[in-house]
Symmetry: C2
Subunit: 346 residues, 2 copies
């Protein structure tokens, strides 16, 4: 902190200029009109002594901070950071400060951070991703949960506004896309987890997609880890590499639950001597920038990350400013971004 010891207060400035604290306050905020002459004198003194209003005191008095908190599991995940960008874009020019806080997928950390950020420190929260369990949060915050918006975080009780991808539908359409390109043996690689609802629905989208085209689910090339995966690239790579060590390639396309898994799988095919897409087609999920950087560049399913952020920010803004308090659940559509990793077969 700056000048913590001998912090200059509004009273000091007032005394120096020979006016009351209220006048200084008004000169700075523009809340009430101040005679130009006095205002100039005040501003000059403020400038000279580099007086900075204490934002904590202001917040305590006004009961708002102008800060929006973004809570997300991991800043390192490009999905989340794109959403943040969308939020910032939307809030641009509204004089809000957004701060992002990482929970590292740990709900204990999430709670303890929430306590610190806690009541009054931020005007609103946007939760991006993370596990569904809001119960712990409710035991802390109680039932009065206002100005919360969820992005891609499922929550059973419809108590919050949220912006989500229908991931079941998204994966289903990916399967459709593959089928339309002539593929009938479609593998799936990912994980399944009770903690996180999203993967479950992705898997069920896969099943649905197969169904749409009367395709068989073949357990032989269904690669499903039990739990959340830390090193996705390694998982994708090793799973496929090992599979091909012991089996011949008996599917023509594979759908990866995340782009990184897809990239890892792609490399494993290549290292085992299979050309992508000539021998196998690969489709990812997410359209993170790395999917473009692979060779061949990977076809994937785009999630409208920026737009999710923008919409979440808009909803929160309206809620904070009492323009609307309706809780709404907004579904966004995905789209296949076709690049080089899919082959059309007759």
């Amino acid at each position: 902190m700056c000048n913590k010891n001998k912090q200059l207060t509004i009273r000091d400035i007032a005394k120096m200029v020979g006016v009351s604290p209220a006048t200084v306050s008004n000169a700075l905020s523009g809340e009430r009109h101040v005679k130009k002459e006095t205002k100039d004198k005040i501003l000059k003194t403020v400038e000279k002594y580099k007086y900075k209003p204490n934002i904590i005191a202001r917040s305590l008095s006004k009961k708002k901070t102008g800060i929006i908190g973004i809570i997300l599991p991991d800043i390192n995940n490009p999905f989340y950071s794109e959403v943040v960008k969308g939020i910032d874009e939307e809030l641009q020019g509204h004089d809000y400060l957004t701060v992002v806080v990482n929970t590292y997928y740990n709900s204990e950390i999430e709670i303890s951070q929430l306590k610190k950020l806690g009541a009054m420190f931020v005007d609103g929260y946007i939760f991006v991703g993370g596990s569904c369990e809001f119960e712990k949060i409710k035991t802390y915050f109680g039932d009065y949960l206002e100005n919360f918006v969820l992005v891609n975080r499922k929550c059973k009780n419809r108590q919050f506004s949220s912006v989500i991808i229908d991931s079941k539908r998204a994966i289903e359409e990916a399967v459709n896309f593959l089928a339309e390109n002539g593929h009938r043996e479609i593998s799936y690689i990912g994980w399944s987890s009770r903690e996180i609802i999203i993967p479950e629905s992705k898997y069920s989208g896969y099943i649905k997609g197969l169904d749409n085209h009367n395709l068989q689910l073949n357990e032989d090339f269904l690669f499903l880890a039990d739990d959340i995966i830390l090193n996705q690239y390694k998982y994708g790579y090793e799973t496929i590499f090992n599979y091909l060590d012991n089996n011949k390639l008996d599917f023509t396309a594979i759908l990866a639950q995340t782009d990184i898994i897809g990239i890892g799988a792609m490399r494993a095919f290549q290292d085992q001597g299979y050309n992508v897409p000539d021998s196998v087609s690969v489709i990812g999920y997410g359209n993170i920038s790395a999917s473009k950087f692979s060779n061949p560049s990977m076809t994937t399913i785009n999630l409208p990350k920026r737009r999710m952020g923008k919409i979440a920010a808009k909803v929160l803004f309206n809620s904070v400013n009492k323009k609307s308090s309706r809780k709404e659940v907004i579904y966004l559509k995905t789209k296949v971004v076709n690049r080089e990793s899919i082959k059309k077969i007759n």
Copy 2:
């Protein structure tokens, strides 16, 4: 905000239990001893009515917030987000909350955010990256700048502690590495900019490295953009692709100023029919995760991102807690991570 209207205060709880506000405060903070019996009663009431201390008021009174602000240009850049992880790891268990704020490479935004975060809102700042110009910040904060730590942000006057990579040296060593692998025609692709000091020193490291081995600087394959590059992949790709349209490949290795540029360049070589590393070797800078995902995986220069964060956090922690106020400049070493994109030639 929760319960903004009818927020429960410490006085309410005190009244309910029949004690003074001070006792409630002490029961919650553990600052002074409170008889077990009363304490239990207090805690029960707190729990029952879900009373949450107002952190703003607490901060005003204690003159600290327990919040560390991390200011960085872009959350989307994996370099920065890794540094953040390092900071968080170090601060883990110290009961600090870290919040990260994006400036999007815009110094106006940086200043306005600093004002909001301003005096008293955070106990300390870590600036990661960004341009060198601290003058604007000084005109706002004045000369009394305490509890600031810089990470990879050059600053002429040695007024702050900072943790930095000697990028000149790093690039120089990359050239050495290439030379030791038998390369004598070494190209460089990147940019040069007066605004940002780092690229300058990178380029001079390149020159120095060539010098060490009595190699010629060949302007023909020196690719230097005038200004900072937005789409680095595209820049790397198009620069090399176009070059090869009009010239034959007359260098054996290329050093890219960033990993992404290197990945783009690599793909351009491949699309023009040159094998990497058989026809050209490529080395990147940064060791971001994408460098591992390319095909071939790219040899690059590792920056100790996590460690930078950890050290910065440690220095700041000591400063905030008055264990040390010495300003120190800490240089960290880089290391070549050899993967698949370099060929050893006789």
